[in-house]
């Protein structure tokens, strides 16, 4: 193969030459030239090339050929199991099928004389010990199942390095084969099963379409004579009888699934091919315990082995539960009913795409004769949102049985809007699908918008024509209404999506009363934010094209407000404020632009504007911009006064309370002398609607608190069951307590003021009582727990009191425990981290009041660590920086008190460093000045104080 040796002048191939040949060879293979390695070597290693080089080239090209051909070779059909005749005690009779997982044989269990079906599993499935272990475990679990409609699993085994799975042999056919025999033609009369059998030879050896069986007869041959099928499957697939038969099959399978689920076993691969019909027409579920295997394999070979057509949408996200199983059963019943697969695609990836989008065509679209109730059941079972499905297989079974008994079914038909919304809000795949959803909704909305416009025009035209075509006008009117309602559906869906995103970012309505210190919440994902931005574009576009349409303008304004909400929750306060401001302007335009705005809408507009003002005030508070917050408070109250009856309405009063509560809490936390700032700015004092108008107003924040509490008390009296009002009231009571405690006098002194403290205790107790009661009613509501933790941390009681309920120490411990529990549920959530920091701070305060400085120090350090973490997550938040600085300041004070001046100076420097980074916050600036003064004093006076 190589040129003959020439001992004198042998050349070696250089690296470069070798590589060039390698490239030429590779590209020849890739061009399907099938070059031979030998030829190539011979071609390049003519005379004068050393044998050594020729060998090297040969080896190189062989390796290349191996890789490139392995890459190209079309997959070879399985043949590994071909030769199997005997597996342990089982004698193989014949092969009855092969599939993704391996080859299925019919076999006889020699010692028992029992006929069985054996699945010999592909090696690729079990090539890892853990897969094998899983396979054995699953099969063992499946073998425990005993149900008249579950094919009994006898066990697993291994022989001649073949792993196999043994189950009962069912004579009959799978629903897959049954469906194929329909060959898709609707209305066609099915061959009876007897017919389909008689088409083939009765000899089992050549019968390949029949998945025959006998489970109990000792002599398998005996059964063969009886190919009489006593099946009573209705032959006309368009008949009511047939539909009822499908429902019966569904109820039976659902019952079997319910049994398996009750045993803790999921099938994971319910599809027509795994449902067998025996000769008596009984339906069986086969292959329990096998599906998990293929799932595992997907990660090994890059294949999804499960049939995507019959996979529940959530299983692509590795979520699978009972409702996924009933989903798959629903798909199967759908196909039986209509003769069409529920999910169909051009190719695998298309099918997967469609599978994740769910069933889009209702059964009755295929055949109007399908009973409506049955369709409703199927549609419910295949709802994209698993929470809209039957929660358990038994529920589905019961509904099918109700249908069969002609009783009213439990499933409810859903309107198109609801379906669209459900479709749009499925959470697990939002990330993957939002863009798609967005595109389709956009199309829908634009089409609807255009149709709306066009029909509107048509209506005008017809009216202008003024001919006698009254009916034409009516048609146009109807179309217009239709188009408008389509548009509303789209808009509503959009709103749902954005609301969903808002909700996802926040546990509940905890922010309703704008608790300013903590409303920086867990992050909304970047994708959601982007989606929201595109939604905004959409509404902008709609609004631009429909300037005279108040409805659309409203939608655009509402969207803008939503965007503000999102930014707010993202902690992007500047953008949030901007969006809110923009929304406010838009609402204002709508309100003032036309005189045709009806009164009730006018009222709503005003209320929304108030809500936005309150949101902005909350943000201003978060940013430490007290004067803006005060300003907004003023404007809010003015707005509320503008409409005579706004304060009479529940929502109006609520916003009024919210404004006052916000004002009080911002003022309290800012530590600013609000009264003075009012005076210096020539403002009128806090508005009093409920409270005593003649009482002196030197502590504005207290009076704002009073107003909020009075308003909320009346609201809770009117609507005792409204959680919002109760929560807000408990919070306002706490805020009043905090406001009372927050002047410059040391807390220790204040505790000696019996009258003041009695009021504080009363507020704190009442707040605690409300929250305790709410917690009992809603044990899982995290917002209530959050509020409770806050209220418990207000120091109002004797530190070591005897009554456990009023022992401040016990309350503080409980407060911190709640924070810890919340953090355990959602670690790293800023809201809860801040809560814990707050609790620790209060505990430290309590220690200080008792003069236990070592305990105080360690609590303060713990608090500091958490605050540093918080700040790291939101470095721009002045509130965090100020609080951090306060903790450091306290640390410095403790050290100073212990005579450790050096440490104190260090801490103070840290605090000033941290505060000097804060921009645009008068509160931070004031604090910084104060600290600098302190630091200066400390430097001047070397003696410890």
């Amino acid at each position: 193969m190589v040129g003959h040796k020439n001992m004198t002048r042998l050349q070696k191939l250089s690296q470069q030459q070798l590589d060039e040949i390698a490239e030429a060879f590779s590209s020849a293979i890739r061009r399907d030239k099938q070059p031979s390695v030998d030829d190539f070597v011979a071609q390049y290693c003519a005379d004068g090339i050393a044998d050594e080089s020729a060998q090297e080239l040969h080896s190189l090209l062989s390796s290349i050929a191996m890789i490139e051909r392995l890459k190209q070779t079309p997959a070879e059909p399985v043949d590994a199991a071909k030769e199997i005749r005997q597996l342990d005690d089982y004698t193989v009779v014949r092969e009855i099928g092969r599939g993704g997982m391996g080859v299925v044989f019919e076999a006889i269990h020699q010692s028992l004389g029992r006929r069985v079906a054996i699945k010999v599993l592909s090696h690729a499935l079990l090539n890892q010990p853990k897969h094998l272990a899983r396979f054995r475990r699953e099969a063992r679990a499946a073998a425990r199942l005993r149900h008249t409609n579950i094919v009994p699993v006898f066990g697993v085994g291994e022989d001649q390095s073949q792993h196999y799975y043994v189950m009962d042999f069912i004579r009959g056919l799978s629903l897959r084969e049954w469906l194929e025999s329909l060959s898709g033609s609707r209305g066609r009369v099915l061959p009876t099963q007897a017919e389909s059998i008689s088409e083939t030879d009765t000899d089992l050896e050549v019968d390949t379409t029949v998945f025959a069986s006998d489970a109990t007869t000792a002599d398998p041959m005996e059964e063969e004579a009886s190919n009489q099928l006593s099946v009573s499957i209705p032959t006309d697939t368009d008949s009511q009888k047939y539909f009822r038969w499908v429902a019966q099959v569904g109820a039976t399978v659902a019952d079997a699934l319910q049994y398996a689920h009750s045993q803790g076993i999921l099938h994971r691969d319910i599809k027509p091919a795994n449902l067998l019909l025996d000769q008596d027409g009984r339906v069986w579920i086969a292959d329990f315990g096998l599906a998990k295997l293929t799932e595992q394999d997907a990660t090994m070979t890059g294949d999804i082995v499960g049939t995507p057509q019959y996979m529940a949408p959530e299983s692509f996200e590795n979520v699978y539960d009972e409702s996924s199983e009933t989903y798959c059963l629903g798909l199967t019943l759908y196909e039986l009913l209509t003769g069409h697969v529920a999910i169909d695609g051009k190719n695998t990836s298309d099918t997967i795409r469609r599978a994740t989008q769910g069933v889009t065509v209702n059964p009755r679209k295929w055949n109007r004769r399908i009973p409506r109730d049955l369709e409703t059941i199927i549609v419910k079972s295949v709802a994209l949102d698993s929470s809209a499905r039957y929660a358990t297989a038994s529920e589905m079974r019961d509904d099918l049985q109700r249908f069969l008994a002609d009783r009213p079914i439990a499933a409810r038909r859903t309107g198109p809007a609801e379906r669209l919304i459900r479709w749009s809000r499925r959470e697990p795949t939002v990330a993957a699908l939002t863009l798609g959803i967005f595109a389709s909704l956009l199309t829908l909305a634009i089409v609807a918008g255009v149709a709306y416009w066009k029909t509107n025009q048509a209506l005008v035209d017809t009216q202008v024509a003024k001919n006698s075509a009254v009916s034409a006008a009516r048609v146009a009117q109807e179309q217009r209404l239709l188009a408008q309602s389509n548009l509303q559906v789209a808009v509503k869906a959009f709103d749902e999506i954005s609301q969903r995103i808002v909700d996802r970012s926040d546990e509940l309505d905890a922010d309703l009363l704008g608790d300013i210190a903590d409303s920086t919440s867990p992050a909304v994902s970047q994708q959601d934010a982007q989606l929201l931005q595109s939604l905004l574009l959409f509404f902008d576009e709609l609004a631009k094209n429909n300037r005279d349409n108040v409805e659309l303008k409203l939608q655009a304004a509402a969207a803008m407000k939503r965007v503000g909400d999102i930014h707010h929750r993202l902690g992007q306060h500047t953008q949030a404020d901007k969006a809110f401001q923009e929304a406010w302007i838009q609402y204002n335009e709508i309100a003032s632009a036309s005189l045709t705005v009806p009164d009730d809408l006018q009222q709503n507009l005003l209320l929304t504007q108030v809500t936005i003002m309150n949101d902005r005030a909350s943000i201003a508070g978060l940013r430490g911009n007290v004067s803006q917050a005060v300003d907004l408070y003023d404007r809010t109250i003015d707005l509320l006064n503008e409409s005579s009856n706004l304060l009479e309405s529940t929502e109006g009063r609520f916003e009024y309370a919210r404004a006052n509560s916000l004002f009080s809490s911002i003022a309290t936390r800012s530590g600013l002398d609000v009264a003075a700032s009012f005076k210096s700015r020539g403002r009128r004092p806090v508005h009093r609607f409920f409270g005593n108008k003649d009482a002196p107003s030197f502590r504005q924040e207290l009076y704002a608190s009073n107003e909020a509490i009075q308003a909320l008390t009346s609201l809770t009296n009117d609507a005792p069951d409204d959680l919002r009002f109760q929560m807000a009231l408990s919070r306002a009571l706490r805020q009043r307590a905090e406001a009372s405690l927050s002047d410059d006098r040391p807390l220790g002194d204040r505790l000696k003021q019996p009258r003041l403290m009695a009021g504080v205790r009363k507020d704190v107790s009442q707040s605690t009582d409300i929250l305790d009661r709410l917690r009992e009613l809603h044990p899982d509501n995290v917002s209530i727990q959050y509020e409770l933790s806050k209220t418990l941390s207000v120091i109002a009681f004797q530190l070591g009191g005897e009554d456990a309920r009023y022992s401040q120490r016990g309350r503080l411990v409980k407060s911190k425990r709640i924070a810890d529990e919340l953090l355990a549920q959602s670690p790293d959530t800023p809201r809860y981290l801040a809560l814990k920091a707050h609790s620790l701070g209060q505990m430290a305060k309590a220690r200080r009041m008792q003069g236990q400085s070592d305990e105080e120090l360690s609590l303060l350090r713990e608090q500091l660590e958490i605050q540093k973490r918080l700040l790291k997550g939101a470095p721009e938040l002045s509130q965090y920086q100020i609080k951090l600085a306060q903790t450091i300041e306290r640390l410095a004070e403790v050290h100073l008190a212990k005579g450790q001046r050096k440490e104190a100076v260090q801490y103070l420097r840290q605090a000033t460093d941290s505060l000097s980074e804060v921009v645009n916050s008068p509160v931070a600036a004031a604090k910084l000045m104060q600290l600098n003064r302190k630091l200066g004093g400390l430097k001047r006076d070397p003696r410890p104080r």
């Binding site: 590589d19 390698a22 590779s26 890789i67 997959a75 399985v78 294949d303």
Partner: protein, 228 residues
């Protein structure tokens, strides 16, 4: 809008499947000057090669959701958007620049779609030139197994694949990556050198060394099993 038309133009151009599928200097020059039409022409010439890379590097979980054509399309749009950057990279061959864009698209797509497994994925599609990917062998395995073949069909071929996979797994990352670039992304030696940011001679050396090691390893396996 503009992009859409150029893109469809790019794909309606007749595809020449031979190796001489290289753009002319003029085309590359115009592309470098920011001409979208030239980009469309060059891109279309490289479609097959880019597709090969996408197929190789696209995570199997994604391959089921996104087609390689989708990625190509996005890559084209991204290339058009970032065309001005190409101008500044005078020594970057057009193909490698497009490959880079395509890989960035892949990274983005993986990030978007597989957030849960983001860390793994990022490794898997990390630009091989900069950090050899430990997951290359997984991508190789997926490629070898063929994405849409049923398990049963790869059973007997599986053994050989298994061996190759095992051999690749035993090699060090640099060797594995070189083989991946040369045989699975089907880059030339010159391109490989550019991607790895080394001299062509060094790239040749590395490749030949890797192939020698692979041959040795395969031989070892064959010996262990008593002949292949």
């Amino acid at each position: 809008m503009k992009l859409g038309t150029t893109f469809s133009q790019a794909f309606s151009l007749p595809l020449n499947m031979t190796d001489s599928n290289e753009p002319s200097d003029r085309q590359v020059r115009e592309m470098r000057a920011g001409n979208q039409q030239a980009l469309a022409e060059v891109f279309s010439l490289y479609t097959q090669r880019l597709r090969q890379i996408i197929r190789f590097r696209l995570d199997y979980r994604l391959a089921n959701r996104i087609s390689d054509s989708d990625v190509l399309q996005e890559s084209f749009i991204a290339a058009a958007r970032r065309l001005e950057h190409f101008e500044t990279q005078a020594d970057m061959p057009a193909f490698l620049w497009l490959r880079l864009i395509t890989q960035q698209q892949l990274v983005d797509l993986h990030r978007q779609h597989l957030q849960a497994e983001m860390r793994d994925v990022r490794k898997e599609v990390s630009l091989p030139g900069h950090s050899p990917s430990p997951h290359t062998s997984l991508a190789i395995a997926a490629q070898l197994a063929g994405r849409n073949t049923a398990v049963s069909e790869v059973m007997s071929r599986g053994e050989r694949i298994e061996k190759l996979e095992a051999a690749l797994n035993q090699m060090d990352e640099i060797d594995r990556e070189v083989i991946a670039l040369r045989h699975f992304e089907e880059l030339s030696n010159i391109e490989t050198a550019k991607v790895l940011n080394i001299e062509t001679s060094a790239a040749s050396k590395r490749y030949l060394r890797a192939m020698r090691r692979l041959a040795d390893l395969m031989q070892d396996f064959a010996d262990e099993n008593g002949g292949a």
